[in-house]
């Protein structure tokens, strides 16, 4: 035996014994660490779903700030109510109308980005083991929240027309027959993150029907609906059902994510609980940010700004599709009519997570498809976000991505591995 003495031991975490069981999946990951390179200017990041705020007129924000401080400065610097500023909620009514959604200011609550609304809803509805139905693939931030709540995440077949109502009914019934409680359907129906697909008008009605028949609450997350390129997407699901749908909106994509202002429109009973939960968690959403958004909406041509974004993102989408055709003709891609994302399907056998180190070498970043599944699928998928780099850099990024794919294909070919 070589071990003879009791050494002094440390694991650098004195509270390891005290964490809740659900904290066990919060580990540092090698993949996450690789993303550190995206902050370098040499790297073209097709990874983070960030708007191009360089296209936002900063003078307008400055004007809004000055106006806010001059007229409501003391209010902006003070605590606010848990439900959020009334004037902003009235303005949100007008924005939601653009998606065909009518709702009372009483049923709107302001949140710290719509991610916060999702966290509150998950906390309100999900016990460990409860089922959340989601698209395949689904938004990584939602998958993360549901996983943290120890929910069962059931991905439902999704194609270019959005989630399949038949598959939705089948999954819900199968889960129920297995004795599980099917609580929620989480959807990004317009230009979905990560797939870019839009749920058709016909399917919206069918999805509403499937969920209503089974008592499943729909969370409709709509950050991208106003960022359409050619034609506006169909009316929101919430436009047809005020009791069965909770609607989430955000200023992150149509204005700025740095402000962290989102909102939720919920049936009164749910809204009541959400406000109490919001107050319990954070007392009130940031008054300062709410006031700034409200002033901006008052003084600026915000619809014109959205049009600016739409035109810009359309150019970038076109650049991305053109580059894919040129450099990666074997790769299948979605062709979104709005939003930020393309969803790529790589040749069989490629694993997008495993080739990330090569991407770092080639100065390009992307998000591996597995991030958008709670069940390990997505290995040969990539989410490409075209919204943030310039159109020219989108092309450069995809050219580099092509090199990465080809290097990895060569490795696989060499080792004849799957």
């Amino acid at each position: 035996m070589t071990q003879t003495r009791a050494g002094s031991v440390t694991n650098f975490d004195s509270w390891k014994h005290a964490y809740a069981a659900r904290a066990s999946n919060l580990s540092v990951s090698e993949v996450r660490a690789l993303f550190a390179v995206v902050s370098r200017p040499e790297v073209v990041s097709l990874a983070g779903g960030m708007p191009d705020v360089s296209a936002l007129d900063k003078g307008l924000i400055e004007q809004a700030f000055n106006s806010m401080m001059a007229t409501r400065g003391n209010y902006a610097l003070q605590y606010g109510g848990g439900q959020g500023d009334l004037r902003l909620r009235e303005q949100i009514q007008e924005i939601m109308e653009l998606d065909g959604v009518h709702g009372s200011v009483e049923d709107i609550m302001i949140t710290t980005g719509s991610q916060h609304a999702l966290e509150l809803l998950a906390d309100l509805f999900l016990d460990a083991g409860d089922v959340v139905l989601v698209e395949a693939p689904s938004y990584v931030g939602a998958v993360g929240i549901f996983r943290h709540k120890e929910a069962h995440i059931e991905h439902v077949f999704t194609d270019d027309d959005g989630i399949s109502p038949e598959a939705l009914a089948e999954a819900a019934d199968r889960m129920a027959e297995a004795g599980k409680k099917v609580k929620l359907l989480y959807l990004v129906p317009n230009f979905a993150n990560p797939s870019g697909v839009t749920l058709t008008a016909e399917r919206r009605q069918e999805v509403l029907k499937v969920c209503k028949e089974r008592g499943i609450l729909i969370i409709e997350d709509n950050p991208y609906g106003l960022l359409y390129f050619e034609e506006q997407p169909p009316k929101a699901l919430r436009a047809f059902d005020s009791e069965g749908v909770v609607y989430l909106g955000s200023f992150s994509k149509i204005l700025s994510p740095g402000l962290r202002v989102g909102y939720v429109l919920a049936p009164p009973a749910i809204r009541e609980k959400l406000v109490l939960a919001n107050e319990s968690a954070i007392l009130s959403p940031a008054t300062f940010a709410q006031m700034l958004v409200s002033e901006y909406l008052s003084i600026a041509d915000w619809k014109g700004q959205i049009n600016t974004y739409r035109k810009l993102y359309q150019e970038k989408r076109d650049a991305a599709l053109e580059a894919l055709e040129q450099y990666l003709p074997r790769v299948k891609t979605t062709r979104p009519n709005g939003g930020f994302f393309l969803w790529l399907t790589l040749p069989e056998g490629l694993n997008s997570k495993e080739m990330l180190p090569l991407a770092v070498n080639e100065l390009v970043a992307y998000t591996p498809g597995t991030a958008f599944y709670g069940d390990g699928r997505g290995a040969n998928n990539i989410r490409v976000c075209f919204s943030h780099p310039t159109a020219a850099n989108v092309k450069v990024g995809i050219q580099r991505l092509a090199k990465v794919v080809n290097l990895q294909l060569d490795l696989l070919d060499t080792f004849r591995a799957e």
């Binding site: 050494g7 694991n11 390891k16 990951s29 390179v37 370098r40 180190p357 080792f415 591995a417």
Partner: protein, 313 residues
């Protein structure tokens, strides 16, 4: 005048995140000791900035290539700027694991039997037959690792022929040359060395016991996932042998100021050399700062002594 230190951190490498953390820790400790510290990324303006400001000393915490392969060191030498750590030539030899193993082997140090193969070999000679031969001759389990990389990135323990090809691919995405090493079962030991110009001195070795069995990226950088024993639970005689091997490695590779030598001590008490690090990690869970603390020293004073030694040249 306080010592002016420019800490380099970040860079474009697979270990950028670790480097940022290391750099900030070193900078904080040096500032606590009274040094005048600037933390900076290696970027397009770096050379001009160095020449214009000429700090007393540069402390590079750049992990991965450029930071550890001798590049940044050689540039600093050329610019006549003093820096913490090994010179460019020594760094290059230590960074390439197969080269370091060869040098240590020649100095009579045990190092696991291995073979290093470039990517091109597998294309030319048929990968299947090469792997079959290597597996038969070295025997499983094997450790497959990139010849040049850090933080256990791309490292796999291969238990049988079934996982061999996949492990090779996972290593080749980091580096075009892969080291395939016979697995030695035993205790992982890290020996940190400080060399202030009066001879290398080993700090108390740190014994590493990852809770999941392997000391991968997550186990290295997530507090709570690995137990570290200082002093090690190994017997004094074994520890002494391990220190001898580590000092031999530091001296044979002509390392300077600071290094960390990673060893495996087998059941018979024999230390096996795995690799030497010219830019050891300095994060909150890293082994080098643990060894300094175990030695009874303050990080701030120790880091300042190292920086002063480098400034003296």
């Amino acid at each position: 005048m306080p010592l002016s230190v420019l800490v380099l951190a970040g860079g474009i490498s697979h270990e950028r995140d670790v480097s940022m953390k290391s750099g900030r820790r070193v900078a904080d400790a040096l500032a606590d000791a009274g040094a005048q510290v600037e933390v900076r990324e290696p970027d397009a303006d770096l050379i001009g900035h160095l020449i214009a400001t000429r700090p007393d000393v540069v402390w590079s915490t750049l992990h991965g290539a450029v930071g550890e392969d001798g590049t940044i060191q050689s540039l600093l030498e050329l610019a006549g700027i003093k820096f913490v750590g090994s010179d460019g030539h020594a760094a290059k030899l230590a960074w390439n694991k197969p080269t370091a193993k060869t040098i240590l082997h020649r100095h009579g140090v045990q190092t696991p039997e291995s073979i290093t193969l470039p990517r091109s070999t597998f294309r030319e000679l048929n990968a299947e037959s090469v792997l079959a031969m290597v597996g038969t001759q070295l025997g499983f389990p094997l450790i497959v690792k990139p010849a040049e990389s850090g933080s256990a990135q791309g490292v796999t323990k291969v238990e049988s022929a079934a996982g061999f090809a996949k492990a090779m691919i996972d290593a080749f995405v980091y580096c075009d040359e892969v080291l395939i090493e016979k697995f030695i079962s035993g205790t992982e030991l890290a020996v940190s060395i400080v060399d202030l110009g009066f001879g290398a001195r080993a700090l108390p070795p740190v014994e590493v016991e990852p809770e999941g069995g392997s000391f991968g990226y997550s186990e290295r950088y997530t507090p709570g996932e690995t137990n570290y024993y200082v002093p090690s639970r190994l017997s004094p005689g074994v520890i002494e042998r391990a220190i001898d091997v580590a000092l031999t490695a530091h001296n044979a590779l002509r390392l300077r100021h600071l290094s960390r030598v990673d060893l495996i001590v087998d059941e018979a008490g024999t230390p096996w050399f795995l690799e030497a690090n010219v830019t050891p990690g300095m994060t909150e869970t890293s082994l080098f700062p643990q060894a300094i603390t175990a030695d009874g020293s303050e990080l701030s004073e120790s880091y300042l002594s190292i920086a002063e030694a480098a400034a003296r040249g």
